[in-house]
Symmetry: C2
Subunit: 289 residues, 2 copies
C-alpha cells in the first residue's frame, strides 16, 4: 500500500469513534469535513517516510504517529481560520469549518482533533510503551506552549514577535515532530537526531507557501492569496525578493537532505525528499532561482 | 501534605513550562490566570481521594492524574465562556479569560490546557507504562467526541438534545474520569469499577449547581446566576421543584457512597465523600429536603 492510502486509511480508522452512537451528529460531520478531503498530507508523508527509512517493524505504530500529526495540523487550521484569528472563509477549496458549521463547532472540532490526536497515539502505541512515551513527548512538545503550534499562534497576540521563534513554533515544530515521530515509531533510540530534517523541511515549506501567497492561483490553492500582505504577516518574497526566496528554498531543501542521519533506508529517503520538495511549487516557478 | 496543597503544587509544577523562555508572555499569563486561583478543585480532590483509598504507592502518578483532570476542566470553562458559547463576562469572581486577555488568547489557552493535560500524564506516568496507557484512555475518553466534554458541549449545537447524554458527557464524564484515574494511578487493575462513584457525584454536583443557579448569591459564587433560564438550559429545580431537586441530590450522594468498591481505604473515602457532598450547597439550603 502506498503512503497516501495508508494515511487516508489510518485517519478513517482513528476517526471511527466520531461516527459512533454517542457523538453528536453535527460534530461528527464537522470533524469529517475538517479532515477529508485533505491537503497534501505532507507531514504524515514525512513521518511515514522516516519510519520506513528506520526499518519500521510495526506499521500500526507509525500509522498512529502519522495520523496524530495530521489531526493536529487539521486542528490548527480550523482554529486559525476562526473569526478572531484569520477570519478565513475558504480552506482547501471549500468553506472553512466555522463558515460551514458555525463558530461553536469550529471551536469544538479543533478541541476534538487535539484530543483525538493523543488518543490515537495511546491506542496505536500501547503495546510498545517506551515508544508511546517518546511519541507523547515529541507530539506534545510540537503543539505545546513553549515552542509548539499554540505558542506560534500566540506570538500573533504579542506586541513584538520574534520572527524566528514565531515561524519555528508555528510551522517548524510540527514538521520536526513528523520527522522525529517517524523515527520514534520505528524504535529509533535517538529521535532527536531527526529534528533537523523536519525543521529544514518546515522552513522550506513556509518559504514555498509564502511564494504561493504572492504568485499562486487561488483556485489551484483552494484558498485566497495575498493574505500575508493584507494581515501584515512576514513573507519571504516580500523580504528577500522572488529570486532570493527561490534561492533560500533550494538552500533549505539541500540542507534537509544533508541532515538525514545514517539509517537503513537513507538513499530511498533522500529520493523521496527530493520528489516531495519538487512538488512544493508548480513547475513554472521551480527553475527561476 | 493535605490534598489541596498537593493539587496546587502539582498544577504549579506542570505549568512551569508555560513560564519558560519559549512561551509568549501573554499566553503564559493567560494560562496562569485560567488555572489560579482555582474553584473548589472538586475533581482533582476526588481523584486523589480514590488514589489514597486504593493504597497509592507513587504520589507523582496520582498528582499527574489529578492535575491533568483539573487542566481539562479549566480548558472547558475557558472555551465554554467564549462569546460564541455562553459569552460569559465573569468566572471565579473575576473577568473570564477572553474578557481579560482577548478572544484569541481565550481560544489558545483552552487549546494549551488540553495539550498540557496529556503532557502531564505522559511526564508523570512514564515510569509505569501500563498505568500511563490506562490513564490516557480514561482521560482521553472523558473529553472526547463520543461521550466526553467536547461531545457534551457539541450537544448544545444540535436541534434536539438527549438530556441524559448531554449531562453525562458535559459534567459526568470528567467526574467519572477523576474517580477512575485515581484508581488507575494507584495501580488498580479494574478502574472501570470506579466509574459509578464519579458519575453519581457528577450528577449530584450538576443538581447542586442547578440549585445555586436559581437561589445562589452571585457574589459568593463568583459568577452570575439565572443563566440556565436565560439560555434555556435544563435545570433541576425548574424541572423537579426545589424540594424535588434537594431530594434528588441526597439520593445521588447516597448512591455514590454505596457504589464505592471494596478497597483498603473505603471507610475513610466514604467519610471524605460525605464531607465533600455537604460542601456542595451552603448550610442554609442543605436540610430543606
Amino acid at each position: 500500500m502506498d503512503a497516501t492510502s495508508r494515511i487516508e486509511q489510518a485517519l478513517t480508522a482513528v476517526l471511527a469513534p466520531a461516527e459512533s452512537i454517542g457523538c453528536p451528529p453535527q460534530l461528527a460531520a464537522a470533524i469529517r469535513y475538517a479532515v477529508f478531503p485533505g491537503g497534501a498530507r505532507i507531514r504524515p508523508r514525512l513521518c511515514l517516510a522516516v519510519a520506513r527509512a528506520n526499518a519500521e517493524d510495526d506499521r500500526s505504530v507509525s500509522n498512529a504517529a502519522a495520523a496524530s500529526i495530521e489531526l493536529l495540523h487539521c486542528a490548527s487550521l480550523v482554529h486559525d481560520d476562526l473569526p478572531c484569528f484569520d477570519n478565513a472563509d475558504m480552506r482547501r477549496g471549500k468553506l472553512s469549518v466555522h463558515r460551514a458549521f458555525g463558530e461553536r463547532l469550529g471551536v469544538l472540532v479543533g478541541d476534538a482533533l487535539i484530543v483525538q490526536a493523543f488518543q490515537t497515539l495511546a491506542n496505536g502505541a500501547s503495546r510498545v510503551p517506551q515508544r508511546l512515551a517518546a511519541l507523547l513527548q515529541i507530539v506534545g512538545n510540537s503543539v505545546g506552549t513553549s515552542a509548539g503550534i499554540v505558542a506560534g499562534q500566540a506570538w500573533e497576540c504579542e506586541p513584538r514577535v520574534g520572527l524566528s521563534d514565531y515561524q519555528k513554533a508555528k510551522t517548524g515544530a510540527l514538521f520536526a515532530a513528523a520527522s522525529m515521530a517517524g523515527a520514534a515509531a520505528a524504535g529509533c533510540r535517538y529521535p532527536e537526531s531527526w529534528r533537523a530534517l523536519g525543521e529544514r523541511l518546515g522552513e522550506a515549506y513556509q518559504v514555498a507557501d509564502d511564494i504561493l501567497d504572492v504568485v499562486g492561483n487561488p483556485l489551484e490553492l483552494g484558498k485566497p492569496t495575498g493574505r500575508d500582505a493584507l494581515l501584515s504577516r512576514p513573507n519571504a518574497p516580500r523580504e528577500l525578493g522572488m529570486h532570493g526566496a527561490l534561492q533560500r528554498l533550494e538552500y533549505l531543501v539541500a540542507g534537509a537532505i544533508d541532515s538525514i542521519p545514517a539509517c537503513p533506508g537513507a538513499d530511498e529517503l533522500r529520493a523521496i525528499i527530493m520528489t516531495e520538495a519538487a512538488g512544493l511549487l508548480p513547475e513554472k516557478f521551480r527553475h527561476a532561482a
